[in-house]
Subunit: 282 residues, 2 copies
């Protein structure tokens, strides 16, 4: 794609040459409307990696001149696999209150909707707080070996993953496995964390069914919701360090399973909780 | 309200005289468009109980002549407190595939959006399944006393709640408490379970911050996502029996906390997982 890139609207730390920044670059195409393109660097088996698609949808809100505050909740519904090439993002502020804002987003290709999303943003203030989801114990990131690269799909190589528990099976033998994973992960090459990259990282956990069944079956995330517990200043402090991620699944029923994930900073702050419902084929 | 009630489109078991059926009754107002009204029987401190508002939004999809399958995922964003009285629901099928359908929903009052929602529905098929979230051990519902009635807000009396753990504090002393609850609950009076009532029940857990802080502070659910793991036949088998519900919270940060809930049938089937992000005031 030779889409003209707009300088990133995000903090000065963003690097326009990083593949993630290139992937989420959008150009204005009128009121509430943006144009972008899929990125070969984040290709998946069928269509692009959903985490980057979600970040592209959010990007339309993050660049919007009317944006109030930072993202608190994001739900993305994947209605169709994106074809390689251009897409449009329509990001419309539905309702703006004093310190909060509700957004409705659609992504289209050839005029057909391929994604819907809702975003809630808010000005956040410090106050009473409590953390009841402490980070699990884990050896330091630098002491855990990085997963081998040259994955079957491009997007996997865009993440530095260091598994403490629940790596992909070495034998795809169809025996029952455990669905939980615990790992350090960050962008590869490293990139300072922001809301767009955190959105994508929250989707970078392999589908739990691959681990649970020790078998590759056709899957697709249908809907993903991420709750952001950190503000922009906290993400800036994380910088390009690894995040600790935990992913698990509750139940696999009638073609859909629920996957739950959490991401902490190295300092142990819960940055986000993320949930998704995933289609699987028998 | 003297809104003319339409006979419920739902299964024959629905009772048009039940307050919940009256609350979720909608009348057609053109293509993709429905009219309904808030229900005094489900009033909350400010505006109506969000669980019933979510069910009213879903009701526009459940009654839609183009509906394919049953709900798998529902996200509801509460953009403003509803005023007592009429509302409009606009439920639009965004994309229909062979066995799945994506919906975008808005609720309006006086032409202003008060809620946005997305719904994913699908035809579900039996196949490989696994349940990794078994129901917690709990004494039988009939052996656990029902919480006292005549609550401060009307909606609480519309649910039969039997707490095994994590009831509301008897002393609001501001001392740190545990955020987790385990309880049996069902509609009061009893009503056969369906997707609309399960949606509302998933929001019937008291805000975790009340238990965590042993203090009542102003709160409001901002966004709620429910994943349905059961199909209509499974819900029909549950009938009007109690569900076992568990609710907890991860973190309370900068004015928002994440609440997670699960609901099982008496037979121990996980019927849904539900997540929400809730505003709180210091």
């Amino acid at each position: 794609m030779s889409l003209p890139l707009e300088p990133p609207a995000a903090p000065g730390s963003a690097d326009p040459h990083h593949p993630f920044d290139q992937a989420i670059a959008l150009v204005s195409a009128g009121e509430n409307r943006w144009r972008g393109a899929t990125s070969a660097a984040y290709a998946n088996m069928v269509g692009p990696f959903g985490g980057v698609t979600a970040a592209q949808a959010l990007s339309g809100v993050l660049r919007h001149p009317s944006l109030l505050g930072t993202p608190v909740a994001l739900t993305v519904n994947f209605a169709a696999a994106l074809a390689p090439g251009e897409f449009e993002v329509v990001a419309r502020p539905l309702r703006t209150n004093r310190s909060t804002q509700h957004w409705v987003v659609e992504m289209l290709q050839g005029g057909e909707p391929v994604l819907s999303a809702t975003v809630f943003t808010a000005l956040r203030r410090a106050g009473w707080s409590a953390d009841d989801a402490p980070a699990p114990a884990a050896a330091a990131a630098h002491s855990v070996p990085r997963m081998g690269q040259r994955a079957r799909v491009a997007w996997v190589d865009r993440y530095d993953m260091r598994f403490i528990d629940g790596a992909l099976p070495t034998e795809w033998n169809g025996e029952p496995g455990a669905a939980r994973s615990l790992l350090w992960l960050r962008d590869a090459p490293p990139r300072p964390l922001d809301f767009a990259s955190l959105t994508a990282i929250a989707d970078a956990f392999f589908p739990r069914i691959f681990l649970r069944r020790r078998k590759i079956v056709p899957i697709g995330t249908v809907s993903m919701t991420t709750y952001f517990h950190a503000d922009a200043a906290q993400l800036a402090i994380v910088g390009d360090h690894h995040l600790l991620g935990e992913a698990s699944a509750t139940t696999f029923q009638r073609g859909y399973f629920e996957q739950n994930a959490r991401l902490w900073s190295e300092r142990g702050e819960l940055l986000c909780g993320s949930h998704q419902i995933v289609y699987y084929k028998e």
